[in-house]
């Protein structure tokens, strides 16, 4: 087992090193690249912690989309900070304070009770009623479905927030810049080759999510990435904000979730409850709608506020 222990130590060391350099990097672009690398390493850490679903999510959302977001804006915001940060002494004090917080947290982690309280037995007892294999998806969509409902609304609200920054005259226009690529260039070639593979992998991840690690959020992110690649390769353009079709896709996930949840109120006796017989099919329907909405929302979040006429 010492080899695995060694791997963990190395991984942790590299993670901390990359994290420190991301914060301490002189130039913003370097910090962002370090951050993307950091995201991938954290995904590895999640695999080591037996949380494959989270590893997928971290790699796709944490490293992938957040990285694209930060890279995109770094390209467009060129200036370094002009307001002077805190002086040397102040920086040391803050550093010491943060170190103290870390040490306190470490002590707290170490002093957690040894027979760690766990909900694994409860989940194993309750999961047959949902007909799902993957416990994480069961928790996400059944036991704590209300969290996920609020979460999709968080995404929708974030998108509304981003759109609210558009100038009034451009309201209803197309978000983000118009990307053009040389038709015979390598990016255009990649834009034509990868999307089908991406779509296949996305749908596979969504479908397998019921029983294996995967699920709506990871699949949604992959599909969003595919759409972004197509936009960046100039093959398609971001839809205008006022188009009703786009808005219906955006709200499809929450609407289906709310609909089935309210139906559960009458059929299964509780809001967001599923009748045991049809639980799996209902959950998969909800997941399908969610995947669609999440893909569209995440892509548009990265594209940004409307900047061009419709």
């Amino acid at each position: 087992m010492t080899a695995l222990w060694l791997l963990d130590l190395c991984l942790v060391a590299v993670i901390l090193a990359v994290a420190l350099s991301a914060v301490a990097a002189r130039d913003l672009f370097a910090a962002t690249v370090f951050f993307v690398a950091y995201g991938l390493l954290i995904a590895l850490a999640w695999v080591r912690l037996d949380a494959v679903d989270v590893a997928l999510a971290e790699a796709a959302i944490g490293a992938g989309l957040t990285g694209v977001l930060l890279l995109g804006v770094t390209a467009r915001v060129h200036m370094e900070a002009r307001t002077p940060g805190p002086g040397r002494g102040m920086r040391l004090a803050i550093g010491a304070g943060c170190a103290a917080v870390s040490v306190a947290l470490a002590a707290a982690v170490l002093s957690l009770p040894v027979p760690a309280p766990s909900l694994v037995p409860a989940v194993e007892a309750a999961i047959p009623a949902t007909g799902l294999g993957n416990p994480v998806t069961a928790v996400l969509l059944a036991f704590r479905g209300y969290d996920t409902l609020l979460e999709t609304l968080v995404l929708l609200l974030a998108l509304l927030g981003v759109w609210s920054l558009a100038p009034d005259r451009l309201w209803g226009g197309r978000p983000g810049l118009r990307h053009r690529a040389r038709p015979e260039g390598t990016l255009a070639w990649l834009g034509r080759l990868l999307p089908p593979i991406g779509l296949l992998v996305g749908v596979y991840v969504f479908w397998i999510g019921s029983d294996q690690p995967g699920g709506a959020f990871q699949a949604g992110t992959i599909l969003a990435a595919v759409w972004l690649l197509a936009i960046m390769a100039g093959l398609s353009d971001a839809p205008p904000v006022r188009s009703l079709a786009l808005r219906l896709v955006l709200v499809a996930g929450p609407v289906v979730f709310l609909g089935i949840g309210t139906a559960g109120l009458f059929v299964a006796g509780a809001f967001l409850g599923y009748p045991p017989a049809a639980a799996k099919t209902l959950i998969v329907t909800v997941e399908a709608a969610l995947t669609l909405s999440i893909a569209a929302t995440l892509a548009l979040l990265v594209a940004g506020a409307p900047e061009r006429a419709p």
């Binding site: 957690l112 309201w171 299964a268 509780a270 809001f271």
Partner: protein, 503 residues
Amino acid sequence: MPPVAAPEAGFPWIVLAILLPLAGMVAALPLGRHARALALLLIPAGLVVALLLAAQVWREGEVTYALGGWTPPLGIALRADGFSAVMVVTTAVVLLGVALFAQSSFRAPPGEETRAALLFWALLLGLWGALNAAFLGNDLFNLYVALELLTLAAVPMASLEARAETLAAALRYLFFALAGSVLYLLGAVLLYGAYGTLDITLLAERAGPEPVTWAAAALMTAGLLAKTALFPLHLWLPPAHAGAPAAASAVLSALVVKASFFLVLRLWFDALPGVMTAAAGQLLAALGAGAILFGSVLALHQVRMKLLVAYSTVAQLGYLFLMVPLAGGGGAAQPWDAGAWSGGVLHAVSHAFAKAAMFLAAGLFLRAAGHDRIAELRGMGAALPMVTLAFGLAGLSLLGLPPSGGFIAKWLLLTTAMASGQWWWALVMFAGGLLAAGYVFRALTPLLARTETPVLPGRPVPRHQQWAVLGLALCSVALGVAPLMPFALLQVGRPEAAEEGIG
């Protein structure tokens, strides 16, 4: 185990109270132009639902609802006790006033959809849903997501007028809010690590005074204080609330900061009563006292009326935290129990009405005079008598003078402070009251000043907006005249710590 049998009888108003606004927000986007009509339909309906929920809590006592049929610790439960019912009703009433006010300032020309019109109403519904989710949730992680929903609805509201200073204010607000949420989540993680559940009722049974719980409580309280903008973490509030449009700043100041205050009370009184020490209560109240003095002094020096009202929010939030060490200090002499706790909550409610009225009034003065520099608003009292009266009545509640709700709250807090021998908090409240008198009358004086030529409002101020402002101010006064019903409703499902005190 199959989903539990339907929770006990009674229509689940608690679910509808959250479902209605959130469904409204989701529907607002595709409805585009008609979002305003949808909101004006849903908000009164929401008030009816809130009142029915309050009636249900009043009749049947505390209402708990296991979502999806899964009972905690696995599932998430909703809980509506007296405190949350009062806050839900307050939210509905304030939103009704704000909607009545904003229905003309955020109206798109017929047949067309404008940015501000659609987004104000969509964000308002989202904000309302997030508030109800925060007031009715009983699971700490679920409350984290509700807080995030609230932040992501409030930040764009603050920067709806996308000018440079509102964008900067919104960004600073976002950083404080996100730092607060992460610290709150960190505390929740530690609690889950130690006790295996995040349900408030279960935590109350399992949590004991161990170092892990103290660390978690400290982190969560720090996070929530950042979101409540309690001194010294208040830097983001004044520019954000003053920069927002009038209707938005009213909702931000009256309700949004109350949600994280509500969670502090849930944490200290419901989830971890045994864990919190009396010293921690004194520290929190000391920060509150700092907020009162600091906020009031700054409010005294403000030139613009909206900034004055925003700094007065910082000061009044200090009052709310004075109640923490006073809870349980009633002593035998008082014929009512949990006086301080109920007083603190009544103050939060009356402040919500008064602050909403004040911000809307300031918005009307801004609209009528084209600017809101206090010194140059001379004679506006004659031009807008109703709005000035509303501003004065709302000011009463901040001063804690009868007949406002603030007075009853201040009376309860003061008697408990003196009865429990903590007289220093009483002195702080008096100082706060006098300072508040300073800045309220400083704002009122130019309004009542008589000018040679009678001042006419630059742009006509519609009557219904004036009625909305006066209505909210009268709500705060009504709370002072008849506080019996809210006070009694508050006692339903009141935590024991509210009476015995903390630690």
